[in-house]
Amino acid sequence: MSATRTLAPGSVAPATGPAPAARRRSGSRRLEELSKVLFVVPAALAIVALFGYPVVKNVTMSFQDYGLKTFFTGEAPFVGLDNYVTVVSDAVFSKAVVNTALFTLGSIAGQFVLGMLLALFFHRSFPLSGVLRALFLLPWLLPLIVGSAAWRAIMEQDSGILNLTLERLGVVDTPVPWLTSPNVALLAVVLVNIWLGIPFNLTLLYSGLQDIPDELYEAGALDGATGWRAFWQITWPNLRPVVSVVLMLGVIYTLKVLDIILGLTQGGPANATQTIAIQSYQRSFVEFTFGEGAALSNILIVISLVFAVIYLRANRRQVDE
């Protein structure tokens, strides 16, 4: 009887059929609902365990004296905002904030402009354009640490090909200490990150360009909008939703970069390439002060969330349109 009681009022209405069959059907419907939910359960558990739990854990850890000691004694005393005060008042923090901003802005600007130029270049197809465009993806598919290794060799001060070439061309007199001088290290890291990000920007912007109907350009051409004017009057306004997605995703990915900086400079020289993400890593996994590392990573989450909200709004608008 319980099976019939759980039926929704609407579904009881056609009670003309034989009663046992209806009961069997309602039983199997419950089973059906249950098995539908089971399709989602593993993924839901995974997302709770791998994203929900870490976020909650980072918040609680950031209010605790959670260090190496904790792993032996199991004790992590509550310390209020101490961890936040410690990390924010550290001289390295302001440096890390500025570097994070410069690193992100510089990388995104470079990636976006170059990616956009390439996307426009590939927009009109030519012989082999599909294959060539696909090969542009390679830097993005390689492990980041492999990219870092290759650039370490290229930017090596004394025998790296970059300095050898610049010297041969007479651009510089003495080898540039790309990764060992505090003056240029951040620039070097940004250059490498631009290289890594071009494929991503190219691919998304290209697919955005393909979605703009040709008729718009044909109509525009009749009104005299060709070349540069066509770009500003037709391409750019129609591409804006894709542009905002590309920029926001780029920012969110760049904020959390560890591989490239660790592989190239490890945050040095003299903290010249310290970012919030690198600081968080070092506090947690080099100094084993997990509470402080968590405080920094929470700051990082908040910054990412701001951009995520902007992104989701842009994304929703794009879906709505």
């Binding site: 593993p42 997302i47 870490p54 854990k57 904790t70 030519f126 090969l135 290229i154 959390k256 560890l258």
Partner: protein, 294 residues
Amino acid sequence: MPTTTTSTAETSARETTARPRTRASRRRARGPVRTAIAIVLLALLLFPVYWMLNISLQPSGNALSGTFFPAHPSLDGYRSAVADQGGHLLISLLVASGTVVVTLVVAAPCAYALAQFRFRWISWALLAILISQMIPGIVIANALYTAYERLGLLDSVPGLIIANSANAIPFGILIMRSFMLGVPPSIVEAARVDGAGLVRAFLSIVVPISRNSLITVGLFAFLFAWSDFVFALTLTTKGQVVPVTLGIYTYLGAHIANWSAVMATAVLASIPAIVLLVVAQRYIAAGATGGAVK
């Protein structure tokens, strides 16, 4: 002509756009030039990859060679790389393969449910998945380290597989869902009428139809896990389980004693990406655009 200032170049351009046949022939003539430019640009972009290959084949030593071709190619770099890092490559292969299996098993049913079942909370689930992709890896590493410490999962292949699935599952759900939205419900219903349960209908009908999206997700799950460095760095401590990315990082210490071995390892670590780009270009292209925008 509306304005008198229009230059002759512009005029002729406008005239060609007005006459399709001329325009087409002009485009055909310009095509090879564009191809040539694209090849030059590609060569510039892929120069670091070439340089990696070049150095890896140079005789070993602590100074880099400035010659553009390995005049006397030597496999010493690869010999040292395999000796030092062969085991690490194997660990990476295990972790990456495991991540593919876990990702597909967990994400595929969920993608189907979010595409075809009428749950009321679907938009919330999708929002949660989108946001989860934005959580920095270091946040996950911080929390997993403390959890793994208690669970005994530090320095283990399963531990790394679970952590890497964190990157691949949300991505996989989004990619496969956007594909499965297009699976006609009628064919699943037909199987249901024939007596197949929900699970059997999913396995025997939805999975084969969605094969392409599963392959795309599998390939990317492999590449994500193969490329992972953050979890390799943070969730291993004793040097027993070392994926190749961590191996390269250790090679890249302050002083690099053997450049050809470092570059040879980097080349070996690039093989999956290069092979997949050549062999499975179609799937890679699908994943590259689908994951971010959809």
